[in-house]
C-alpha cells in the first residue's frame, strides 16, 4: 500500500462493544501492518464476528476507535469502504441475479474502473468463468462463497476481512477456498477469523486468540507448532 511509511493498515484501539447487557468485545487492541496476514482464532461467541463487523464499519463500537490506513469510519466512511473487502457467513449476493450481474452491480457500486474487464478478471480468479450466466440461486454454497470472494476483491481493496468464510463448506471446498484466499489475498492485508487452527496457520503469519471478547494471546506462526497452538487454544477456551 503506497501510503506514508509506518502507517498501519489496521489499527484498533481499546475496542468495546456492548449489546444491552452483553459485552461482545472488551478492550481489544490490534495493530496490523500493510500486507500482513493475521488469523483470529476463537470459540463461538468469542466476539470474532463482532470484531470484524466493527473493522468493516458495519457496527459502531461502544468504545474505542478504528483506523484503517490512517482513516476512520466516522469521517471518511465512503473512502474507507473503497479500501475494505469483506467475506462473511453470508455471501451478500442477490440470488435472482446471475453471477455476472452480481459482480457488475457491485463493481458499479464501488466505482470500479473498466468494470467489464474487472468482472472477467475476478471471475477467472475464482474459477467461476463457466457459471457466470447462472443465477446465484442455482449455485452450490461453495461456489457462492467463491463468488463472494470475487465480490469482495472486485474493487481491489487494501484490506480483506474474512469471517469464517468456510462455514458450511465440505472438505474439498474448504481446501479450494484455502488456495483461493492465498491467491485472492495477494499482497493485501488479510484478517481471517476462524476456529479452524490448521487453515489459519497455513495462510497467516501472525495469529491472535480471542476469548470472551478479549485478545488473550498473540503470536507468530513461525514460532509455534500446530500442536502447541492447539494446546494453547484449548487451555484459553476452556478457561472461559
Amino acid at each position: 500500500m503506497t501510503v506514508a511509511t509506518g502507517l498501519l493498515a489496521v489499527e484498533a484501539r481499546d475496542i468495546g462493544r456492548r449489546f444491552g447487557r452483553t459485552t461482545a468485545l472488551r478492550g481489544v487492541n490490534l495493530d496490523v501492518a500493510p500486507g500482513e496476514r493475521l488469523a483470529i482464532f476463537g470459540p463461538n461467541g468469542s466476539g470474532k464476528t463482532t470484531l470484524l463487523r466493527v473493522l468493516a464499519g458495519l457496527t459502531r463500537p461502544t468504545k474505542g476507535s478504528v483506523s484503517i490506513g490512517g482513516l476512520d469510519y466516522r469521517r471518511h466512511e465512503l473512502e474507507l469502504r473503497r479500501r475494505v473487502g469483506v467475506v462473511a457467513h453470508h455471501p451478500y449476493l442477490y440470488e435472482d441475479l446471475t453471477a455476472e450481474e452480481n459482480l457488475q452491480f457491485y463493481g458499479r457500486m464501488f466505482g470500479v474502473e473498466q468494470p467489464k474487464r474487472r468482472v472477467d478478471e475476478v471471475l477467472d480468479m475464482v474459477g467461476m468463468e463457466r457459471r457466470r450466466r447462472d443465477r446465484v440461486r442455482t449455485l452450490s454454497r461453495g461456489m457462492q462463497q467463491r463468488l463472494a470472494l470475487a465480490r469482495a476483491v472486485i474493487h481491489d481493496p487494501d484490506v480483506l476481512l474474512l469471517d469464517e468464510p468456510d462455514t458450511g463448506l465440505d472438505q474439498e471446498a474448504v481446501a479450494q477456498m484455502g488456495d483461493l484466499f492465498l491467491k485472492g489475498g495477494g499482497s493485501r492485508t488479510v484478517l481471517l477469523a476462524t476456529h479452524d487452527l490448521r487453515v489459519g496457520m497455513q495462510s497467516c503469519a501472525r495469529f491472535a486468540i480471542l476469548v470472551n471478547g478479549r485478545i488473550v494471546h498473540e503470536g507468530q506462526q513461525a514460532d509455534q507448532s500446530l500442536s502447541d497452538l492447539e494446546e494453547l487454544y484449548r487451555s484459553h477456551a476452556s478457561a472461559y
Partner: protein, 254 residues
C-alpha cells in the same frame, strides 16, 4: 498501480469540493445518480424475475376490490359515494403488503447488509428503494385502477384523477420506504408496518379521497386546489424527511 491518498490528502480534496472547485461539484452528483440508477436497476431486474411484490399487490388489491364490491353494494344507494374511499383503501392495503414483502426478502437474504459495505451514501439507498417501490406500486395501480373503474362503473380514467393518484402514491412510497425498513427489523414484522403507516398517512388519505371524489363528481379542478396543496406539501415534507432520516434506520443493520 493502485493510487492511494493519505488522510490529509482526502481532507484536502473534500475541502476543495466544498470551496466550490467547479469540476468537483458535478462529478460527485453524477456519481451519486449513477449509484441510484444502479440500485434501481438491481431492484427492478430482481422484481422482473421473481414478480414477487407486484404479484402480491395485484392479487390482494383485486381481492380487496371484490370484497368491497359485495360489502357496499348491498347497502349503499349510490356506490359513487364510497368509490373514492374504496379505491384508496385497496391501494393502501395492497401497497402496504407489497412494501412489507419486498423488505422481508431483503432481510432474509441479507442483501441490504451487503449494500452497507459499499461506498454509497445511505440516502442514495433511500432514493433507489423509494423509486423501486414507486414503480412496483405504480405498476399495480395500472391494473387496479381500470379494474376498479369497471367493477364500480366509475369514471376514474381522466387525467385529473390520475394526477391525484400519482401524488398520493408518491407520499405513500416516501413514508412507506422508511417505515418498511423499520418494521422489518422488529418482532412483529407484518403487523408493525400498517400500525406505523396508517396514522401518519391520514392527511394523505383524506386529501386523496376528497380530491378523487370531487373529480369523479365532475367538479372542476379549481375546487380540489386545497387538497392538492395538502398532497404536495405532504409529499415534499416526507420526501425530505425520509431522505434525511433513512440512514438512522439503516445503521447497525443485520
Amino acid at each position: 498501480m493502485r493510487q492511494h491518498i493519505s488522510s490529509a490528502a482526502v481532507d484536502e480534496t473534500l475541502a476543495l469540493g466544498r470551496s466550490g472547485a467547479r469540476s468537483d461539484l458535478f462529478g460527485p452528483l453524477r456519481g451519486y445518480l449513477r449509484q441510484v440508477a444502479n440500485l434501481l436497476w438491481k431492484d427492478l431486474v430482481i422484481e422482473l424475475r421473481t414478480r414477487d411484490a407486484v404479484a402480491s399487490m395485484l392479487v390482494f388489491g383485486i381481492l380487496s376490490l371484490t370484497v368491497f364490491n359485495f360489502a357496499f353494494e348491498l347497502r349503499a344507494d349510490s356506490v359513487l359515494l364510497v368509490a373514492p374511499g374504496v379505491l384508496w383503501v385497496a391501494i393502501l392495503f395492497a401497497g402496504t403488503l407489497g412494501l412489507g414483502r419486498s423488505y422481508s426478502h431483503e432481510r432474509d437474504r441479507g442483501s441490504l447488509e451487503g449494500l452497507m459495505l459499499c461506498p454509497v451514501d445511505r440516502s442514495a439507498i433511500y432514493v433507489g428503494k423509494f423509486l423501486a417501490n414507486l414503480v412496483y406500486i405504480g405498476l399495480s395501480e395500472l391494473v387496479l385502477v381500470p379494474v376498479f373503474a369497471s367493477f364500480f362503473d366509475v369514471p376514474v380514467l381522466n387525467p385529473g384523477v390520475i394526477a391525484i393518484i400519482a401524488l398520493g402514491t408518491v407520499g405513500f412510497a416516501a413514508v412507506g420506504t422508511v417505515f418498511g425498513a423499520m418494521a422489518v427489523n422488529t418482532r412483529a414484522r407484518e403487523v408493525m408496518l400498517p400500525i406505523l403507516l396508517l396514522p401518519v398517512l391520514v392527511p394523505l388519505i383524506i386529501a386523496s379521497v376528497k380530491a378523487t371524489g370531487l373529480l369523479i363528481d365532475g367538479e372542476p379542478w379549481s375546487q380540489t386546489w386545497a387538497w392538492v396543496n395538502l398532497l404536495v406539501a405532504f409529499d415534499v415534507v416526507y420526501l425530505v424527511a425520509s431522505f434525511l432520516l433513512y440512514e438512522y434506520v439503516l445503521e447497525d443493520w443485520g
